[in-house]
Each structure stands twice: as C-alpha cells, then as structure tokens.
C-alpha cells in the first residue's frame, strides 16, 4: 500500500517537475542566469564590507552575454544593499566590485581575476566550464535543460566570503 502511495506521489512529482521546465523553458538561458546572479548575492556575506548600506556592485567582466537582461537588477536590493551594475574594461577598474561575473571571453585572464577576487573579497561567478576547479567560486552548469550551479567553498572562504548553507544544499557540486 505504502509503496503504491509512494509510486503515486512520485508520479505526481514527475508531473510537477515536468511542468516546471515547461514554464521555465519560456525564459532564455541567460534570463535564468541573470536571476541566479541576483539570487547568489542574497546568500553570500561579504565580511570585508563594513557598511551594510553601501551599494552592492556587480561587475560584468568581458563580453556581456546578458545584454539587457541584467537591467532589471539595477536598483534592486539584496540584503539591504542596492545593486549597481558596472562593465569595467580593464583590471584596474575592478576595484570596488562585490560580484565579478567573468564571461567566457576572459578565460585567459582567469587566474589573474581569480587572484584579484581572492584578495579583494569579490564573489566570482562564471559560466566557464570547470570554473570552480580553476579557483572560481560559483559556476553555472547546465544539466539537460536546467541551469544549475556549483560552488568552490574553499575559494569563497579564502576570499572572506560566507556562503549560506541553503545555497550549498542547492549546488550540484561543492568543493571544499
């Protein structure tokens, strides 16, 4: 009986899960990634930042894959901090960034950026493959149609960032 019930619940769940991508599939990959980017900021604590009301600056390094998709984030608040977008052209302009989105065009500068981020206490996010293995903190991965992410907790901790355990639970992979 109980097995029967479980089977039933499983069927319902599958149905539900099947529906969810159907809804999500309306949104583009980068739409989801943009939303994730915002959501990441809500589960990370920057220990180096003293002023909790200072704006949270998201920097997109390299070619911008989002286009206008990040615009809605402008002005939204995450953990009480107003989000600001920057598109720096050089490494020197990176100072003051809180979140560093590293686009695929910057794979060559990656070690440098990662190093900088560790020093400056920036959260590095990228959809470069094997990003976290290379020292990145949050990397998008694609599982079938669904966008997921993985976390390099060690890198984040070294940069003085604390990642909420709830976020860790959702990650496909966590490097510690």
């Amino acid at each position: 009986m109980r097995d029967h019930l479980k089977y039933f619940i499983f069927t319902i769940l599958c149905l539900c899960l099947g529906l969810a991508p159907a809804n999500g599939s309306i949104r583009s990959e980068y739409e989801v990634k943009a939303a994730f980017l915002y959501n990441f900021t809500r589960f990370v604590r920057w220990s180096q930042v003293v002023d909790s009301t200072a704006p949270l600056i998201v920097c997109v390094v390299g070619d911008d894959p989002f286009g206008e998709l990040l615009d809605p984030l402008r002005g939204r608040k995450s953990q009480g901090r107003e989000l600001q977008l920057r598109y720096p052209d050089s490494t020197f302009e990176l100072t003051g960034c809180d979140v560093l989105y590293i686009s695929q065009s910057q794979s060559r500068n990656l070690p440098e950026l990662i190093n900088l981020a560790r020093q400056e206490g920036m959260l590095t996010v990228s959809d470069l493959p094997d990003f976290i293995r290379k020292g990145g903190m949050l990397g998008y991965v694609k599982k079938g149609n669904v966008i997921r992410f993985e976390i390099n907790l060690k890198a984040a901790t070294e940069a003085g960032l604390t990642i909420n355990s709830r976020l860790l639970e959702l990650a496909v992979r966590v490097l510690r």
């Binding site: 769940l13 995450s78 953990q79």
Partner: protein, 484 residues
Amino acid sequence: MMRGWRYWRLKTKLLFLTLFVSTLGIALVCASLIFVENRNYKKQLESELHVIAGILAEQSAAALVFEDNVQLTSIISSLERINTIRQACVYNEQDNFMTSLVGIDEQPCPSLDQRLELGFVDDVYRLLMPVSLGNETVGRLFLSSHLEVLRGHIRTFVWVAIGIGSTILLALVFLALRLQRIVSGPILTLSETAERIAMNHDYSIRAPVSGTDELGRLGNTFNEMIGTIQQQNLRILESRDNLERVVDARTSELSMANRELEAFSYSVSHDLRQPLRAIEGFGQALEEDCGEHLNDVGKDYLRRIRAASVRMASLIDGLLILSRVSRQSMENHSIDLSQMLREITDELKDISDHPPAEIHIQPGMQVVGDSRMLRIVFQNLLGNAWKYSSKEKKRVIEVSATLEGSVIAIEIRDNGVGFDMRYIDKLFVAFNRLHTPSEFGGTGIGLATVYRVIRRHHGTISATSEVGKGASFVVKLPVSGDQR
C-alpha cells in the same frame, strides 16, 4: 418526580441531593476541563504547525529562489514523518504551484487565486505561511493538518473524565451512605423511638444516644423530655392512687357512720316508742280497770298523759322519716304524679271530709324520682293544705304543673289560713312552727322532710302566702331524674 419530594424518606432525600449536586459538579468540571483542553490542544497544534511551517519556509526559501523543485520536494517530504499533516503545498513568488506533499486525501493543492479559508475549517487546520528571504516574500507554503489526533485526544479525555467522574460518584455514594448512617441514622432511630412511644404510650423507652454533637444533643433533649413526661405521669398516677385511697377511706368512714346512724335510728324507733306505748297502754288500762276510782280531773290528766304520749310517738315517727329520707338510697322512676296525688287526697278524704273539698288536680303530670320519698313530700304538702283549709267553709285545693325548660314546676295552692311571709325563712326548718298547737296540730318536721327530699332530687321548693288568703307551694324538679 419532584411531586413526591416531601414524601421521600430523609435518607433518600440526602442521597439524592448529594448525588445530584456532585454529578452536576463533576459534569461541570469535566466539561470545562474538556473545553479548556480542547482549546489548549488547538493552540498547541496551531503553534506546532506554525513552527513546522516556519522551519519549512526557512528551509525552502533558497530552493524556491533557485526554482530547485527537487530540493523543494525533498524538503517537503520530510513532513511525511509527521502524520497529522494531510497536505503541504509550495508556491513561488508569483503564487504558482511549485511542489506538494499529498497525504491520504489525494486532494490537489488549492489555487491561491481565490481566497483560502484558513485556520480551523471543519476537520482540518489550514495554514498559509509566506516564505521570506530577507524582507522579501519569495513564495508561500500551504499546510493542512487533520484534527483526528485532536479528536482522539479529546475522546480519550472524555472517557477518562467519565471514568474518573463515575469513580468519584461511586465514592460519593459510599460516602453519602456513610454520612447518612451518621446523620440520618440517629434521626431515623429517634423518629422510630418517638413513634413507638406514641403507639405504646410507654414512656420508659429511651432513644439510643451517642456522641455530643447536635444529633446527640437532640437525642438527649428528647430523652429528657420523655423522662419529664414519665415522671409527670408517675406523679399523676401517684396522686390518683392517693386520691383513690383517700376516697376509699372516706367512703368506708361514711358507710360506717351511715351504719351507725341506721343502728341509732333503729334503736330510736324501737326503744323510744316502747316506753311511750307502756305509758299509753297503762293509761288506758288504768282508765278501764280503775276508772271508777278517778274523778273527772284525774280522768282529764290521764287523757292528757295519753295524748302527750301519742304526740311524742308521732314526733318520733316524723324524725324517723326525716332521717330515713336523708340517708335512704334513691330509686328513680318515672311517676304518674296525678295518680299519686289522687290517691293521697282520697286518703285525706277518708280521714276527714269536712268541710266539703273541691280538689283540682291537673291530669297527666309526670315526674321522675323516688316514689316513696315523693309520696312523703306530697302527703305533707297536701296534708298541710288539707289541714290549714279545714276552717274554711269549703276547701279549694289546686295542683297544676308547668314545664320550664328542663324543669317541671308543680304548684299546690289552697284557700287556707296562709302564713305571714315575714317568717318564710323558718318555714322549712325542723321544729319551727308558724301556728300554735291550739290552732293546728303538727310536729314541725313535715316541711323540713319535704325540703330534704326535694333537695335530694336536685329540685327547689318555694312558698308564697298572704295571711287569710291561702298559701302556694311551688316544687321544681328536673324533668330527667339523671341530672346531677
């Protein structure tokens, strides 16, 4: 049922009241306990569910934000272990359904578009909790819990209450019976004792008394009361016995005196007459045998001696009659008075019918009394009338009777010489005469005898007269001879 209340035994009343009040009390206590327990349990359930929902909301916030349905499902499926949860549904920021845990009911999750009834609805408790991240609401959590556990809990509670209540009631019945033995037992005993005393008139019975409480005091007071009654009874009996003894003594004294009096009058009757007879007899013999030796003066003296002895004899006779009517026992009968009076007047006529007599006796007169004594009365009264009217040209004697209530009044009226009313108080006294012997002979005892007899018949006698115009004697006798 309550109509017979006053006829119930005290025992039953006490038992009924005790049980009624305690049942009411226990029922009230149980009901309020159940009520309070129900409310507390609901509150507890509510808070528990809120806590659970809060934890779930916190846990599922991240998964919601990242639209990680697998994670959400695994979070929610932890509710499976809480068997009161019937349904749990998760909605995202746009109130779209995300995932759910479906219990036995297999009901689909409600849509949040329309208003949801929350709280206790029918057999379920519904809860909708926002899932917050920071200050933002990122989704909502719907929980529905069935109240079977609550119901079961309350049911158990009711059974326990009933069980405890009946135990208490049983204990109370036992207590009431004990109490009754303590309280109504002595009262019952007292009332039974009182009934027994009232029925048997036995005042030596005492109620058993134990203790010095109010009941003990009541019993003691009751016993004292009965004791007082007993003593008073004893005293009454004693005084009655004394009285009877005194009466007996008096009676025997009286009968002794009576016997002495009888003996006295017997000897008076015998021995006083004998010498008189000798005087008279020898006087007569003297006159007959030696008459020639006596001159006229001597013969006159001899005649006077003999006359005196005869008068003396009639005096003795009168006295004997007077004493006899005073002491003789009376035999009361109904008497034809008219007949008796006619007999008496006939006798009188035989003795002397001069002057001619006109006698009117009302016919049909009836009295009750001793006929011998009443004959003496009317012999005297009619004899007097006869005697005192002997000097008229014609005797007129009337006897009439009138009924005055329960008393008959008999009037004897004559046309004789009458008497002076100044001496009325001497009329009925023995040896008192209102006329000189030369005018009318007599002993002076007759009316005294009449008075005595009438008094013994509980009657009265009165007389009115005017000198020269006759006399009237009125005898009043009770119609019924039994009147005392």
